[in-house]
Structures are given as structure tokens and as C-alpha cells.
Amino acid sequence: MFQKVLIANRGEIAVRIIRTCQEMGIATVAVYSEADVTALHTRLADETILIGPPSPSQSYLSIGRILAAAQQTACEAIHPGFGFLSENAEFAEATRAAGFTFIGPSVEAMQIMGSKVAARTRMAQAGVPIVPGYHAQARDQVDDLIAAADEIGYPLMVKARAGGGGKGMRLVSRAAELPENIEAAQREAQNAFGDGQIFLEKYITNPRHIEFQILGDTQGNIVHLFERECSIQRRHQKIIEETPSPFLDDALRQQMGDAAVVAAKAVDYINAGTIEFLVDADQTFYFLEMNTRLQVEHPVTELVTGVDLVRLQLEIAAGSPLPFQQADLSQRGHALECRIYAEDAAQGFLPDTGSILQAIEPTGPGIRVDSGITDGDEVTVHYDPMLAKLIILGYNREVALQKMAWALRHYVILGVTTNIPFLQAVIDHPAFRRGETNTNFIDRYFTIWQPEVLLAPDLAFVAVALAEWYGDSDASKRLNEAQSQDGDVYSPWRHLGALRFGAEIS
């Protein structure tokens, strides 16, 4: 096992990885930017290295500075976390070239799965169903594209090849609309991304986003650890995830799980990864993409399977075979995760910044908090505003929902506005309770959502006044004096009689 590992990340996931390393007796090195000087992850690690100014490109995305930090501290391995450089094949290659173990898959697997075209081609070869689509060639005429579109079927999306994050996409419902949309999409893509290439993809109505966790070891064993339902998304950003998915029955779960393993085998996948599928209302599923890293929502899988994924990542990277086979794995109970963001839902989910004045996590059976913040931390504009993840394990979905509602109600974060009220509203929504989770859920039920306008109750005013009174030394002193009136026989206060202070004499 490694003696020392560098965590090339920040916030909640850096804390998560550091904790597991500590459990395993591995020394940890944290890197941080000038904006994270007092961040929680720096306070937990054994060694810390400042790697640059707040801007990610000069700190957490700087391959050179991170490798320099690893060299300086004599690390053996680097864990990239998620986001930042975790899916950057160049970083993986540079890490290995510099003599460190990269805790993740091979460079080749990252390159193939990192390219939409290459991934789809490989999946098609392996027999994994993919979303029907067509990549426009430079020489294609409009007629060629219309023909390709007819094969795919309508409705379909015209997407920019260089696009991402929901940009450069157009929905086309009929053949007649196609030519103008293609032209417009090409123009937009050229302007936005400098690359006018487009591709056509079947549009799946109200799809569910269901992904499967994969683990592969260096000996070629690959297993799946079942699914995660990630359909509750706002602007393509996940906010609530759960497992098992209310939509899958045992047969479909088995089919999709097998397909996920086939997909991972097709790129000789090693370490942790996730295969994302889109599932149609009639239970047809399609490969969407593979994430060649650990995911934000991994805790829900950990809770229902009892497996520590970060621990396994380290063990796999150190050369150990998987300690279980597919038949040994099962799901038990129901897990839900809510992502806590520093966002003001009442102001269009604008990120909020400020100091965390108080952070008190809810605790109890089945309640897990993966947090990147604690009292005194600063939430700045430089990074993703995710503060923490609240993960619940319940006996079944109903119990998990009740626990989640309780935990959200009891998570105290003072100093910045959080999306907790919004999460409470979603958890409470009848459609969510019924398990009607698809990617249009937020758009459909929460398009214009405002937190309920509730006037602060008298008790809120009283509580703040009491806190101020408690901290107000004069007032407390006066209380002590008043109390001493009864206790101290020699107190001069006892002998004042009708003496009045500052009162009108009537």
C-alpha cells in the first residue's frame, strides 16, 4: 500500500479522500490555492502545499504545479478526485511519466471514453446500445443529413460536436424543420466554440438518467455495484440522487448492469468509473457516456452495498485484486443524496458567498454528511458552490424520505444562503414521493420556484435578542447583580429602599 498520497483536489471530496487515507494509515498531502488557505481539507492533511492563486487554471488545474508538489513531498500516488484534472488524460500520462501512480484508469481508456465519437464507436462495436445518432461529415450535403435524420427518427437533437454543458443544442420535431436548424446550429457552434461540426442524436422524451458504478482491477476483473438514479437535475446539474432507482425492476437492472460491465470491458477499464445510461419510458436504455473517475454521488452506492469506493480505488491502484465477485454484491435499503449548494433559490439560484459562521451537521442513524466546510470557512466565487452532501440510508424509500426531510430541517448552516429550502420542497413534492423522477422533473414542477414567503416568527426575534443579551456583558452582569440581591446579605442593593434611578418623580 502507498505510504503517501497527494490529493489533487479541494472541498468535500478532498476531505473524503483524506479521511479514508487516514483510516488506511496513508500519509496525505493537500494542495491548496490562496483562496483556500483556511479550508477544511488543508487542516486535515498531514502536509499542505500552496500551489497558486485562486484561479483554478493556475492552481487546481495546473499539472506542473501539482506534480511539483508531489515531487517536493515525495508522494507515491496522486488521487485526482472528481472535476478538475480527474478526466484529463494528459494529466494521467504526465503523472505516470513522472513516476507516480495515478489513481484511476489507463490513459487509453480515458481518451476513448473522453471523446463522444470514439466512445460511441467502441460501444457500438461491443454491442452496447447507444443513442441513435449521426456525426455530420464535412462533405455531407443537406440531403445526406436528412437521410441520416430519417434513420434516427424524430424528435431529434442537433448538437455541436465541440459543445457541452447544454450549449449548442437544438430540438427538431419534424423533417421540414431540419435544414434551417442544421444551418443555425452550425453557425452557433462556429461562433461559440470555433468548430462548426454538428451531430444528430435521437431525442428521448422524458428520459431517466440512470448510471451504473463500475470497479475494475488490474487483473481484468470488472463488476458493477448497481445503479444510481440521477434524474433530478437543474440545468443539467444534478441535485438529488438515489439508489435503487424506483423505475428499475430486477430484470432491467440485470440487463443494464451486464451492459455496463461489457462497456467497461470494451476499454479494459481499471479502477472506479461510471456508465451513464438514458432510459426511455418503455424501458429501452441507451449508453450516454462513461465518467472515468469517482463521481460526486458515489456515497449512495456505498451505503446500500457497504463498500468504501475510495478505499477500493487505493487498493486497486496499489495492485490488489477486487475482494469480491459480482455474486457477492447486493443492495440493501434505500439511499438518497442531496447536494447542499451555497445558492439563493429565491434569486434564480445565484451563488452566494460569505463566511460560514456556524455549521452544525445533523447526526443520527442512517445520516451521513460529506462536508467540505466547517465554522469559519470562506465560500468564494472561484469554485463550485457545493458545500456538502447529505446522504441518507433508510430501510426503504419511504423511511429514507422521512429521514432526509428531518436531516435537511436540522442541518444548520449560518452565514450563506443555501439551497436547503429548495431541496426540502423537492423532497416534499408528491411527484417525487411517487418516484416520478425523470430529467424534466425540475423544469416541470419547479420552473419558477420561490421559497414560501413566511414572516419571521416572534420566536426568531426572541432567540436573536437572547443571543445578543447573553453575549452582552453589561446585561449578564446586571442579571448577576439582580440574582445577588437575594443571596448576598451584605449587598448594598438590599438597602436602597425607595431610591429611584432615572425615573420621573411623580
Binding site: A346, Q347, G354, S355, L357, Q358, I360, D375, R409, H410, V412, L414, G415, I420, P421, Q424, P451, E452, V453, L454, L455, A456, P457, D458, L459, A460, F461, V462, A463, V464, A465, L466, A467, E468, W469, Y470, D472, A475, R478, L479, A482, Q483, L496, G497, A498, L499, R500, F501, G502, A503, S506
Partner: protein
């Protein structure tokens, strides 16, 4: 307690006035409402007055950042934090409220003085408690409104304030319009009973 000269309670009035000196006064604003809390030691605990209502409160105990106290016998746990003029409070207890957390601001001295003036909850004339901009006027003249109904949305200090009707009534006059910048104490709207 109102003391009339000649009243048999008059000698005890001195004790009351002594306690008046010891009384602490705290004023805050939350959204469209401003309230003052008076705290006076009484026996083993505190007598707290808000909205002319007196409640018995135990002296708060601070444990790990949270205050524990009871109000008229009901246990309350409050976590309070302060930065500049903002007070954040999170309340826990067996409450069936949908919302657990509020932000209060402590008004400036000028604002405190204006709180002592004619109470808008009786006159129906609602004014801007801080300078800002009218985002939207939600009602029309002569419209019937109910207590608590939001009438105007003001934007001030990066906060959105909802000016609410203090009682059931009818909109008598609107003094502002959407987009308008308003000064502190400027009249916004009048509700008549």
C-alpha cells in the same frame, strides 16, 4: 402596570423603575417587519416582551454553539450567528414550521427612532425602512388585501424585502411605482381598514 398617583402600589413603583433601567432592548428587522424585544431579569429567569406580549423564558444555556432555553415551558434550541448587522438564526424544537432559518438585521439608530414613532401596524401607512429600489408593486388602488399579503417588492442591500399588509383592508393609495428608487422613511403605500 400603570401607576396612578395615590395608588397603593406607588411605593413599589420604584422597584419597577429600577428594573426598567436593567431592562435590555434589542430591535431587529426581518423582511417587512421590525420588532423590538425587551429582556428583563425576573426571578430565576427572564421576562421577555415582544409585540406587547410577555413570555417567561429561562436563562439561555450555550452548548457547542447552540442556545438552549424554554419559552412558556416549550424547549427551544437556537443557533445564532452574527456578522456586521446581520443576525442568522436557526430554530429547532417540535415546531411544525416549514422554515427553520431566518436572517434578521439590526436597524441603525435612526431606524430605531422611527420605530418609536407612529406604529404603521395601526395607521396603515407603510414606508421604506431602508433606501432601495421598488422592484414591483403587486396591487392596484382600491384592491382588497388580507393581513400578511405581499403588496410591494423592494430591493435593498442585496435583499429582497416584501412589504406586507399589516391588517385586512383596502389599498387607499400607492405612492410609488416599479423601478423607482426610494429613500428611507419614504411613504410607499397606504392600506385603509
Amino acid at each position: 402596570m400603570f401607576i396612578v398617583p395615590g395608588d397603593i402600589w406607588e411605593p413599589y413603583d420604584s422597584a419597577r423603575r429600577y428594573l426598567d433601567v436593567m431592562k435590555s432592548e434589542y430591535s431587529y428587522q426581518a423582511g417587512p417587519e421590525a420588532k423590538t424585544v425587551f429582556i428583563t431579569p425576573e426571578g430565576d429567569g427572564l421576562c421577555v416582551t415582544i409585540n406587547q406580549r410577555q413570555i417567561q423564558v429561562t436563562v439561555p444555556q450555550l452548548k457547542q454553539g447552540t442556545f438552549y432555553f424554554s419559552v412558556d415551558g416549550q424547549q427551544v434550541k437556537a443557533t445564532v450567528a452574527n456578522k456586521d448587522d446581520r443576525w442568522y438564526v436557526h430554530l429547532q424544537g417540535y415546531f411544525r414550521w416549514r422554515k427553520a432559518q431566518w436572517v434578521l438585521t439590526s436597524p441603525t439608530l435612526d431606524q430605531r427612532r422611527s420605530l418609536d414613532q407612529e406604529d404603521e401596524t395601526t395607521s396603515g401607512l407603510l414606508t421604506a425602512t431602508m433606501p432601495g429600489q421598488v422592484v414591483q408593486v403587486l396591487v392596484d388602488a382600491d384592491e382588497q388585501v388580507v393581513q400578511g399579503q405581499a403588496l410591494i417588492i423592494l430591493e435593498a442591500m442585496k435583499m429582497e424585502l416584501r412589504i406586507a399588509a399589516p391588517f385586512d383592508g383596502v389599498i387607499q393609495e400607492i405612492y410609488c411605482s416599479g423601478g423607482q428608487t426610494v429613500e428611507r422613511d419614504q411613504s410607499l403605500i397606504k392600506v385603509a381598514k
